[in-house]
Amino acid sequence: MKKNEIKTKDFSRRNFIKKSALITGGALSIPLSVDAMANVNNEKKLKIGVVGCGGRGAGATVQALKADPNTELVAMGDAFMDRVDSTLGSVKKAMENYNSSSLKRIKVKDSNKFAGFDAYKNVIDKVDVVILATPPGFRPYHFEYAVNAGKHVFMEKPLAVDVPGIHKVMEMARVADEKKLNVVVGLQRHYQNKYIDLKSKIDRGDIGRIVSGQVYWNSPGVWVRKRVSGQSEMEYQMRNWYYFNWLCGDHILEQHIHNIDVANWFIGEYPISAQGMGGRQVRNGLDHGEIYDHHFVEYTYPSGAVVASQCRHQKGTMRRVDEYFQGTKGSIITGKAEIKNVNGDLAYKYKGKGLNEPDPYQFEHDKLFSSIRNNEVISDTENGAKSTLTAIMGRMATYSGKIITLEDALKSKQQIMPESVSWSDQPPTIPDSNGRYPIPTPGVTKIY
């Protein structure tokens, strides 16, 4: 094991609480004192760039521009120039609708629009704050470059698709902390008042010690981009990235991480083992790549708590995106924002302000920029990496059908995302003569 690799003791409860205090400290809405306001450094114009021009990259860009009036969008990058152009157009339109004078803050010269696998370097070089919103496979490499360049970061979840990627992100988290860089991760439930409030009730002891939980992302599934004639295999996979593990990591990572992360956050620990089952029974067409359409994982925590995690992409089946927890003194359902006592009576409900409730996607950017202005540090990376690892352990368990311990997982050298990618490369997975990709098979697929 290399010196800088993380170990199981880094996942201890003590470590969680120490780091999560920092994390929630960043997320809690504490009004700035007069003294703090005096320190606010608004003078400097902050240059923003975005790497990954999908709908979410565009959304995060607009949120960043809205978060701080003394910002400019100066550089954009994506694998594809058509995505850069369409995102620039939609960002302009959104900012014009927000406030016509803010259109002036979009200053992306043609020479600062970058396409290709190295676009991220060019974007990061030109900015103070970078938004990383490509498919997650690229995240460790992009984050590494941004931190080495001393840039503040907003990055979307998950933070890697394999364990070597997790080690890299954890290593760079330490470097980012040393450099006092702000890093906000798009696990936006940490920036949502309902979740912050419910977490404070758990910490106050309202439901006692959590002994079990059920977390869900069951839905009909997401978009599919069909193969277009003339596309290379690499271009096809990059366009239809959700269905390829080296880019997406499967939906247990890409989507269900939100709910798994809430379990880790509310319990205050990370799981030490995972076992489960899964497969692809319904969504198994030629345009559905190699990922599963369902996973069911049982996570065991150091305290003995057990969380059942289920995620499913199947049409016409029960839908639920939610988190339930049972404690020694009561239970909690985050969807309803309700706490019940052990007798099942309603003990507490978070009311919120309905349509006037703050938007967590905006709030995470408001916090990022106010932290930069106040010379504070938000450090979401470590939790983001650890929750990503929890989801990877779940995927390892469903693909292999074996028990996956945290210790075993951390030793994994299985790198599904290549170190570098170019248009002339063959992707890490390629179809057979029938257009079918190799599918992970429990009892057969080896996890190492």
Partner: protein, 322 residues
């Protein structure tokens, strides 16, 4: 030649008579599925649209009361449910051969744009089978009508505000279709006090006297109209089939109130304006044309005019992106 003409005329008359007689309720089947939904006839007429100043709980945009004439139409007995709406979202039955299609209209189904698949669960855990579809934009609800028309061969669209209120009132002038007594509301509607903070299965409360369910409560329902607070003030008395053509994305009108509303928002004349906050937590740019992430209280029902409008008119009643 003359004989042939007479025969043609005769046949035409028979057809005409049949179509006159067939202004009854019917079940619209969806080819390729077991699903059907009920449409009930609403015979047109003159009614007083809006509420008088002395109505308790009324808002100023509900007046002044104007006489409005509405042509006959069929209306869905129930709000559109997820089973039906999902067929539009998934578009998996479009290519199934259909020999029993009506020939009222014929449109190319491939030309009807489809809603995107949402990233998250738009039922918000409130239930799927038998429950009303929610969170769709007015554009999406209208495209659904276009798709449904292509699938069935019958011309469907969203109701105008006037049609909606006429159908809701079912001949009454009172606050609710069952009178003014708010204590009876629980028998007819799902609203803030009895809904358990979620929508409920359609048709589980009493219908109005014309056999239409859930006009009050459960989910608010899209109409075609742009929301113009002074619309009635500006409108001529006795206007026929009026509506405010929607040109701006916001605000547009929903009617009937929902599971989350208090009784005064459920009144026959109450109007609610759509709002950009209904897409507040859509994290993407451009925000979805198809989904209102923050409007789990909005659904819709459909109408079919008794007399098929000419093609140009038909298209006018189908929404396109603004």
């Amino acid at each position: 030649m003359k004989i042939r003409y007479l025969i043609t005329l005769f046949i035409f008359n028979i057809n005409f008579t049949i179509s006159q007689d067939s202004f009854d309720s019917y079940d619209q089947k969806i080819n390729g599925t077991d699903y059907s939904f009920k449409m009930v006839p609403v015979t047109g007429g003159l009614f007083q649209m809006g509420s008088l100043k002395n109505e308790v709980g009324r808002f100023i945009d509900e007046g002044p009361v104007k006489n409005v004439e509405v042509s006959s139409f069929w209306i869905g007995a129930y709000e559109v449910t997820w089973e039906l709406y999902e067929l539009f979202v998934q578009r998996s039955i479009d290519d199934i051969e259909n020999n029993s299609k009506s020939n009222e209209i014929s449109i190319d189904i491939d030309a009807v744009s489809g809603a995107t698949t949402p990233y998250t669960d738009m039922t918000f855990g409130m239930g799927l089978d038998g429950f009303p579809a929610i969170c769709m934009t007015q554009l999406a609800a209208s495209k659904f009508c276009e798709w449904l028309s292509a699938i069935t061969g019958n011309y469907y669209r969203l109701p105008t505000e006037a049609e909606w209120e006429y159908a809701c009132r079912a001949g009454t002038k009172t606050k609710f279709s069952f009178g003014d007594d708010v204590n009876l509301l629980d028998e007819y509607a799902w609203f803030s006090k009895n809904s358990g903070e979620k929508y409920q299965k359609v048709g589980t409360k009493k219908p109005n006297s014309w056999g239409i369910y859930d006009m009050h409560g459960n989910v608010s329902e899209w109409t075609l109209d742009q929301y113009v607070p002074s619309a009635y003030y500006n409108r001529k008395d006795n206007s026929k089939d009026p509506y405010e053509l929607a040109v701006k994305e916001y605000p547009r009108v929903v009617r009937g109130g929902s599971w989350s509303d208090n009784p005064n928002k459920l009144r026959s004349s109450a109007r609610t304006a759509s709002n950009s906050k209904w897409k507040k937590r859509d994290p993407q740019i451009p925000k979805s044309l198809w989904w209102h992430t923050d409007a789990p209280f909005v659904g819709f029902r459909i109408v079919r005019p008794k007399e098929l409008p000419i093609e140009e008119e038909r298209k006018k009643y189908w929404i396109n992106p603004s």
